[in-house]
Amino acid sequence: MTLESVLFYVLGSVAVGSALLVVTRRNPVMSVLCLILNFFCLAGLYLTLRAQFIAVIQIIVYAGAIMVLFLFVIMLLNLGDERKLTDGLSWKKILTGGMAFALLAEVTVILTGYANPAVVPLSARAEEVGTVEFIGTQLFTKFQFPFEVTSLLLTAAIVGAVVLAKKKLD
C-alpha cells in the first residue's frame, strides 16, 4: 500500500464519519465544527488528486468564509432550546435512511461490478493541471466570460442578502 492510498482511506473514512456527525448532532455548533473537519478531509483528498489550487480554495472559501458565516448566524439566532427541534427515531427517518442506503448500494454495485476492473492510473497531466498557474491561465482565457458572470452573481448575492436580512424600517 502506497502512502497515497493510505491517505485516501484515512481521509475518506474521517470524511464519512464527520459527515455522519454533521447529520446526527443535535447542537448546530457541533454540526458546523464536524462540517469543517469534513471540508479539511476533502481538501486532503483533493491533494491526493494533485488539485492543489482547489484544495487551498476549499480551505479558504469553505472552511474559512462559509462556515464562519454559518457560525455567525447560529450565534445571531441564539438557538437555545434546541432539544424541542429533535424528535427520536421516527419511521420517516428509518425509511429515509433505508432508501438512501439502498441507492448507495446500487451505485456501489454499478461502479464496482460493471466498470472496467483494470485500475486506471492518475493522468500524467494531473500534476500540471492542478496548479494555480494552469487554472489561472484557463480562467482568464477560455473561461473569461463565466468568470465575469461570477462577479455579477456575487454582487447580486450580496445585495440580496442585505435586502433579505435587514430590519424593516417602517
Binding site: G12, V22, V73, K167
Partner: protein, 100 residues
Amino acid sequence: MVPIQHYLILSATLFFIGAVGVLSRRNAIIVFMSIELMLNSVNLTLVAFSAFLGDATGQMLVFFAMTVAAAEAAVGLAIIIALFRKKQTVNLDEMNILKW
C-alpha cells in the same frame, strides 16, 4: 494506487449522507449544512474525473460551483434570519404558510 471507482463511491456516500440530512432533519441550519455536504461530494467527483482524465475543465467547474455555493450560503442564511425574525424558530415543520 487508488482507482477512480473508490473516489466515486466515497463521493456517493457523502452525497447520500447529505440527502438523508436534508430529508430527515427539521433544523433549517442543519438542512442547509447537509446541502453544502452534497455540493462538496459532487465537487469531489468533478475533481476526481479531472485528475484521472488530465483535463482542467472539471476543476474549473468546481471553482464556479464554490462561487455559487458562497452566494447561496449568503442568501440562504439571510432567508433563515428573515424567517427566524418572523416565526422565532428555525423548525422547518412550522414553515407552512405556502401549504394550502
